[in-house]
């Protein structure tokens, strides 16, 4: 291929060109979109460490992790949906419905805890599958589908529970189990935190190491090309929404342990918090781009802001304001990263 030597030498020279520091940052972020949230998390930690003496203590860290667990779990399902260029507004509603069903079925020993738990998780999975069915078979946009099911599942949960909370002492030990814990280096952790970490490992493995994971990215990035390449796009989407439902069911179990009760209006801003965690974590709302590790960091950032500012005695509205700014900055950074040049 004698004719190509000159141009490819020129191309090689172009590849070796000096990049500006900003271009290098952009390049790194393109390959590792979770780098910027990680940096942000470190900055937040350092800032709160300087600002308040009680922040970086074993006690505080335990509380921070426990507070993060539920939103972090929901954000796993949300990440899957957003990777396919969708959005799930029904995360909180499915979790609450599942939780109220688990608690009601088993109240005061009415049903064995294991059975109530399984029914609750299966119900959440079915709710996710319904979202998936409406998106793939009726061809409705995910925003509209989950906006509708948000109302439907919330209403069912309220009607079913009569709007009443069920306290932990009326529930079997298994449902409360994830609230129990142990101490490592003085940090009190719960089994709920362990469960959430296991969810991250399992789903992270599926996304990074299996064919299904590739399909999730492919369908989110370019559904038509994925279909032409032989990916069963609709089946992949259906599994994504169904698996997300399953995860919301597990989050319901974590929430009972965390809250010490099943309350219909627990975590009222679960939807926005889960979306915020995903977006701050570097996953693109346009689909096909993002890592689960970023979502974990994103969830930690959201909770760190909330926890740190409340430790400083700052009005909660500042936390809301800061979160809002973060979301906008995160999406702006994502837009910038996507324009990377080779």
């Amino acid at each position: 291929m004698a004719t190509t030597t000159t141009p490819s030498a020129a191309a090689a020279e172009f590849a070796r060109r000096q990049q500006s520091p900003l271009q290098r940052v952009q390049h790194q972020l393109h390959g590792r979109p979770w780098l910027s949230p990680l940096f942000l998390l470190l900055v937040a930690f350092v800032a709160f460490f300087i600002a308040t003496p009680t922040f970086l203590t074993a006690n505080s860290m335990g509380i921070l992790l426990q507070q993060t667990a539920v939103v972090a779990a929901l954000a796993v399902g949300q990440t899957l949906v957003i990777l396919t260029a969708g959005i799930d507004l029904s995360v909180g509603a499915i979790m609450v419905l599942s939780m109220m069903v688990m608690a009601s079925l088993s109240r005061d020993g009415g049903m064995p805890g294991i059975l109530a738990l399984v029914i609750g998780v299966v119900l959440a999975t079915a709710a996710g599958a319904l979202n998936g069915f409406l998106v793939t078979r009726i061809n409705l946009p995910p925003f509209i589908v989950t906006l509708g099911t948000l109302s439907i599942f919330t209403a069912i949960a309220l009607l079913y529970s009569g709007g009443e909370s069920i306290q932990a002492d009326h529930l079997p030990g298994l449902l409360n189990f994830l609230g129990d814990g142990f101490k490592i280096f003085g940090i009190s952790l719960t089994w709920g935190i362990v469960a959430v970490i296991l969810i991250y490992i399992a789903v992270g493995f599926a996304l990074a190491q299996t064919a299904w994971g590739r399909y999730v990215y492919a369908v989110g990035d370019d559904p038509e090309s994925a279909r032409l390449s032989g990916v069963a796009s609709k089946r992949v989407l259906l599994t994504v929404y169904t698996l997300a439902g399953l995860i919301y069911g597990l989050a319901a179990w974590v929430l009972i342990g965390r809250a010490g009760a099943a309350t219909p209006n627990a975590v009222p801003d679960a939807n926005l918090q889960s979306i915020t965690a995903v977006v701050i974590g570097g996953t693109s709302l346009f689909g096909g781009r993002g890592r689960l590790i970023g979502t974990a960091i994103g969830a930690l950032i959201v909770q760190t802001l909330q926890f740190g500012l409340s430790q400083m005695g700052v009005d909660q509205q500042w936390r809301v304001l800061a979160t809002g700014i973060l979301v906008i900055v995160a999406v702006a950074v994502d837009q910038w990263i996507r324009k990377v040049k080779a």
Binding site: M1, F205, A211, R214, Y217, D222, S225, L228, S229, G230
Partner: protein, 277 residues
């Protein structure tokens, strides 16, 4: 029925290629008809593709080029007519059926996933798993193996500008993306590779690279159908040229039997291609 045009085709083929046409066609279509409501897409088209040849399909817009190709790749199912692959009658209900039978298509819109790396794209929907329980129970992908074999496939096509198979496709140039798509089409034991306007979006140099790849495929014994508007490229690379006109086959010529002007004249109907009679 189709005998006169066939003779014209073979008559124009150089002596050293004549042996190709004594074989059975690898892919042939007979009297394909497809209608869309009142619109007639194909009006009884015949097509023959022989082993190891590049058959170009040219025709004006609306002549039925794309429709014909979509029937061969399973994207459309013809209303009547038959398609045979290696002598056996086939029915393709979906593109996957055609692919399973060994017909690979490189679409005009490329069908590569920008965010995935080259190896992932080459193996998309055909992933290979690790050996042992890692693969069977945990369904873990054999990333290293796929990357290695992807590198081999790309090298086999004589593409030297792509080195790193872990590179995201969105960082590649148009020609390199086309190379990835062609490598994918050729990598999986296919018999027939169909390229739909592969150079339409490319510059001169990159087009040259794609034409080289097409010749490589032919030299490996694959049969190639090339749909193109670019007459100089068709005349450079094709062994025979199928001219599509008004939903039918106006004739088959070769770059040796007719020049570009005559080809275009037949394509537009300014000139009729009569048999040897």
């Amino acid at each position: 029925m189709s005998a006169p045009t066939m003779e014209v085709a073979h008559g124009g083929v150089p002596a050293d290629k004549q042996h190709i046409y004594s074989q059975e066609p690898v892919l042939s279509a007979r009297k394909l008809v497809i209608t869309f409501g009142r619109v007639i897409g194909l009006d009884g088209v015949d097509l023959d593709l022989y082993p190891g040849e590049v058959l170009a399909v040219i025709g004006d817009n609306g002549a039925g080029k794309s429709t014909l190709i979509k029937c061969l790749t399973g994207a459309y199912t013809p209303d009547s007519g038959e398609i045979t692959l290696s002598g056996e009658r086939v029915h393709f209900a979906r593109p996957q059926d055609a692919r399973a039978a060994g017909i690979e298509t490189v679409y005009q819109q490329l069908a590569v996933i920008p965010a995935l790396d080259i190896a992932s794209n080459l193996y998309l929907a055909r992933e290979e798993r690790r050996k042992g329980i890692l693969g069977s129970v945990f369904r873990m992908l054999d990333k290293k193996g796929m990357e290695k074999r992807a590198g081999q496939s790309v090298q086999d096509l004589g593409i030297q500008t792509i080195q790193n198979m872990g590179q995201a496709v969105e960082t590649l140039s148009g020609g390199q993306r086309q190379a990835v798509a062609v490598a994918r089409a050729a990598a999986f034991g296919s018999k027939v590779v169909i390229l739909d306007e592969p150079t339409a979006a490319l510059g001169v140099k990159e087009s040259g690279m794609v034409l080289d790849m097409i010749k490589q495929l032919r030299d490996r014994g694959l049969s190639v159908i090339l749909i193109s508007h670019n007459m100089p490229q068709v005349w450079e690379v094709a062994d025979r040229i199928h001219i599509q006109r008004l939903g039918g086959r106006a004739g088959v010529i070769t770059p040796q039997s007719h020049d570009m002007g005559e080809g275009v004249a037949i394509m537009t109907g300014a000139k009729r291609l009569d048999g040897p009679s």
